[in-house]
């Protein structure tokens, strides 16, 4: 996928192999097997190498999606994460057709009960409240439980006065819970009002993609908003715009770089620098390190 920043990148150092025939578009997850071809630069890569590199292509810097658990592993100090509200589960409040099956399939696929994992953690010794969303769980959509867990995380941060980091990746509010999903936008935003009143900092990290109801609520309300490079960050994604107003979009619209240029993101941080940037921000906000047990 060509983007603006590609213009300034060096030619791939790896041998590129053209596909024998045009294949159907693959999902942007890393497929099984030992080797894979980077979706972006087409370099042939050893899978373990990408994993070791925080799922960033070592060749072109393309950021692959990261599950909630893996994100927490990447960010939290080893064994420092204490999950809370892990057993909250979704019902089917509006009896939406096939919702329970969809939930079961998502649980099976991700190993998670719901689309966000929340807890207390330390990052390079700094105590924090950490929430990581999982795009693999029904597109990271926010239903009642995602909204509740995010709200509990915000309230916990206010209560224990620890900085809050939310890694947001979502297609928006979860259709299958109807209006209750929409109301999670108001609920999380209201809770952030309380956190702000306590003067506890909140750092939002936007990962690919972060759109619609989540982007139009807590993800846009960070004291500092960090986006990963090349992430789709938007209210209405390109497909929605194409369908509703039939506008043609210039290349790169809807990505982090576009949002940075237009003033809606504070900074774009490479995933390999994310921990360092966050801990720097903690220090700049007067957060002090805890001694490890």
């Amino acid at each position: 996928m060509p983007s603006f920043s590609d213009l300034f990148r060096a030619k791939p150092r790896y041998i590129t192999v053209k596909p024998p025939r045009p294949e159907e578009k693959k999902p942007r997850d890393i497929p099984d097997g030992l080797w894979l071809k980077c979706e972006n630069c087409e370099a042939l890569l050893y899978k373990k190498e990408i994993e070791r590199n925080l799922r960033v292509c070592p060749n072109c810097g393309f950021h692959y999606k990261v599950s909630a658990r893996e994100r927490i592993e990447q960010l939290a100090d080893p064994d420092s994460f204490r999950e809370f509200a892990a057993d909250l589960a979704s019902g089917n409040p509006i009896d939406f057709p096939n919702y329970q099956e969809k939930l079961a399939a998502a649980q099976e696929k991700t190993g998670l009960r719901e689309g966000v994992v929340t807890g207390e953690a330390r990052m390079d010794g700094y105590p924090l409240i950490l929430a990581a969303m999982d795009f693999g769980f029904i597109g990271g959509s926010m239903g009642s439980v995602v909204g509740e867990k995010v709200t509990l995380a915000i309230e916990r941060a206010a209560e224990v006065r620890r900085p809050l980091v939310i890694v947001a990746t979502s297609g928006g509010a979860r259709m299958q819970e109807g209006i209750l999903s929409l109301m999670q936008m108001a609920k999380t935003a209201a809770a952030l009002g309380k956190l702000a009143g306590q003067r506890v900092p909140y750092f939002a990290v936007l990962a690919n993609p972060c759109t619609a109801g989540v982007m139009a609520s807590f993800a846009s309300l960070g004291d500092v908003i960090i986006a990963e490079p090349g992430a789709v960050v938007a209210f209405a994604g390109p497909r929605v715009i194409a369908q509703t107003v039939r506008e043609k979009l210039p290349p790169g619209a809807h990505r982090s770089e576009f949002m940075l240029e237009h003033g809606f993101v504070d900074l774009i941080v490479d995933r390999r620098e994310l921990r360092r940037t966050l801990t720097q921000l903690f220090a700049l906000h007067g957060v002090t390190r805890e001694v490890s047990q």
Partner: protein, 330 residues
């Protein structure tokens, strides 16, 4: 569509037309049709009851979008005295998809904000069909902060298919504008009463819809996604919109049952478009009563109650011994 009537209303409209014709005939030709008229009127009344007491979700969507449905300014004209419209977000431009200003409600100043569709094509283009841009939401917020400063309550009228989804809206931060309004409205230090008068289209509606009391007109709808959008995503067929409308639980009765709204304002039979004055009178009554109740609350209590309302929304299954903060032992 004739006389702006919807398909399911047609039999009734035809009957009403015949009654009107007979009446005219009576007066012009001096022939007594009173017995026929009476019998047709009885028929019309039972048909009216039959049609409007059994509306499907999709029929309510159609009524909520009815081309002759009263719009925000129709209510504002009838409910508030001395209304002065104020323009612009002081930042980019004046978005005509949202109107706002100050008016008197039974003699008391109130800030009024409403999403505004157009009555005809020309006005619809000027108002971008009632799809607000970020600057519309920022204008609304500016007026709300102004209301807070001068201790005026806020009344909002919700009627939009959604926040404008387009490149310009993205460039100016549609998501941020909505998020900011949710954040600020949750904390505003004056009472807020919101009324969904037509379409409550997702985040675009919620962005002026966080309040101490939220009401819906009987035939308005409020949904996380349009039935067409839902059907297109789920079943790859926008024509399954009626099924989607049912599945989404988007009627006033549904939202009351789910605890999202505080009450339903009944419409004149046949819908608000049949009698603007009566519809406005009913809306006014509810707004006046709500503000009377809310104005007695100290600010902290007002905000606490508002927070509590949104805090409890949602459906969460908690296993018996679950407590927040419990360690995950899986």
């Amino acid at each position: 569509m004739t006389n702006g009537s919807l398909d399911f209303e047609k039999p009734l409209y035809e009957l009403e037309k015949r009654i009107a014709e007979l009446r005219q005939f009576t007066s012009e030709k001096d022939i007594d049709f009173s017995a026929e008229i009476r019998s047709l009127e009885e028929k019309a009344e039972s048909l009216r009851q039959q049609i409007y007491s059994n509306l499907t979700s999709w029929q309510r969507v159609l009524l909520a979008r009815h081309p002759r449905r009263p719009l925000s300014l129709d209510y504002i004209d009838r409910i508030f005295d001395d209304f002065i419209e104020l323009h612009g977000d002081r930042n980019y431009r004046d978005d005509k998809a949202i109107v706002g200003g100050i008016g008197l409600l039974d003699g008391r100043p109130v800030t009024v904000i409403g999403e505004q569709k157009g009555k005809d094509t020309k006005e619809n283009i000027a108002r971008s069909f009632g799809w607000p841009y970020p600057e519309g939401y920022r204008k609304a917020l500016r007026l709300m902060k102004q209301a807070e400063k001068f201790r005026r309550p806020v009344v909002t009228f919700i009627d939009t298919a959604g926040a404008f989804p387009g490149l310009e809206a993205e460039e100016r931060g549609q998501a941020e504008a909505i998020a900011r309004n949710l954040f600020e409205m949750a904390q505003l230090e004056v009472p807020i009463v919101c009324v969904v008068i037509g379409e409550g289209g997702s985040g675009g509606a919620l962005a002026i819809g966080v309040g101490d009391r939220v009401y819906m007109l009987e035939n308005s709808v409020y949904s996380v996604i349009s039935p067409e959008g839902c059907a297109a995503i789920l079943w790859h067929d926008a024509e399954l919109k009626a099924q989607a409308a049912d599945a989404l639980k988007l009627t006033a009765a549904d939202l009351l049952k789910l605890g999202v709204i505080h009450g339903i304002i009944p419409e004149p039979i046949g819908g608000a478009h049949r009698d603007y004055d009566e519809a406005a009178r009913r809306v006014k009554e509810v707004v006046v009563r709500s503000l009377a109740e809310l104005s007695t609350l100290p600010v902290d209590e007002l905000k606490a109650q508002r927070y509590a309302h949104y805090r409890k929304l949602g459906h969460v299954v908690r296993p018996p011994k679950s407590t927040p903060g419990e360690m995950d032992t899986r």
